[in-house]
Subunit: 164 residues, 2 copies
DNA sequence: GGGCGATATTTCGCATGCTAAAGAATCCCC
DNA sequence: GGGGATTCTTTAGCATGCGAAATATCGCCC
């Protein structure tokens, strides 16, 4: 189950480093792209999501951008202040707030041609088909394992995250 | 150069999703681990770095945790307030501030047995040697390509990040 | 039909995290 | 050896980002 040997330790470090690098770099680029349209990174993400899905509740939006509701409340506050989106109370369930792009918000979204993460996509295009397939398979296995560890850790939340 | 075909588009999405998942999850776990010692995530990281390297300048520390100096200034402010570290002006170069663990900080560091990212390491241990090697190779190729794209983009910073 | 637990959103307080600009100290070059 | 460019750190202002508690509403169950 654990064929990992000492000599591979550095490899492990490097894999972690690389994943962190790829993540932070893609985020930085999203931010830079957003800046050209006078938006912040998360605001660009929200605008692009609403462009294709108009009419999303705050909770649904939070889930999509992997943030807490309270975080998204703040983001939407500022976007509403800037006239990019509007809040609309749902008529079916008055607890729910629907977020919708304003014409101004839609214009800005349309004016930004590339998706966030486009850079990532371009980089992945330099890999061969087989490499993409391998990468996907291995990362999938990795994240499945992580999910298992987390589940076990949630059940016995007292040690570190990795004791055998 | 770009053998990526339409049918692989979903694979690309999934790879990106997985990398984001792995990154955010490892961060969340670091934070949870830190909480048990009354620390925040970055504070745990700093304490663990200083445990092995005592005597690091603020800039060096920033570089290690991939954050801006101004961010680290704030983190160190709060850690100093809590009595975890002290600032010492360097005698050789009086512009430099050395950060050092206090006995209290050292105790806390010693009391936390696992490294941040340990969960990651445990998950990687479920891969075979060959998989680790492949993953490392492919991620390396990927990040090299990203670096190239960034460099090109920095030279011509006007379009999106990925135009061909 | 009234109360009670569950769900959706907001508020509050705090800790990152960034950029730009200010403040110190050093370097370097004439 | 003096001054300007450079480097190290901090300050200021803002935008996430989180958890916990407060609010509002809904659903259900008796």
């Amino acid at each position: 189950m654990s064929p990992l040997e000492p000599e591979l330790k550095d490899d492990v470090e490097e894999i972690i480093e690389t994943i962190i690098y790829l993540y932070t770099e893609s985020r930085r680029l999203t931010k830079e792209l957003a800046r050209r349209a006078q938006l912040t990174g998360p605001q660009l993400t929200v605008v692009k999501i609403l462009e294709s899905i108009d009419d999303l509740s705050l909770s649904e939006l939070s889930e999509r951008i992997r943030a807490q509701n309270s975080t998204v409340t703040g983001i939407i506050d500022r976007m509403e202040r800037e006239g990019l989106v509007v809040r609309e109370r749902s008529t079916e369930d008055r607890r729910v707030v629907k977020i919708r792009l304003t014409p101004k918000g839609a214009d800005i979204a349309a004016a930004i041609p590339v998706e966030p993460m486009e850079m990532f996509r371009a980089a992945l295009a330099s890999l061969t088909k087989d490499e993409v397939r391998d990468l996907l398979r291995i990362l999938g296995k990795l994240s499945k394992k992580v999910k298992t560890i987390i589940k076990r850790d949630a059940a016995h939340p007292r040690g570190g995250a990795a004791e055998e």
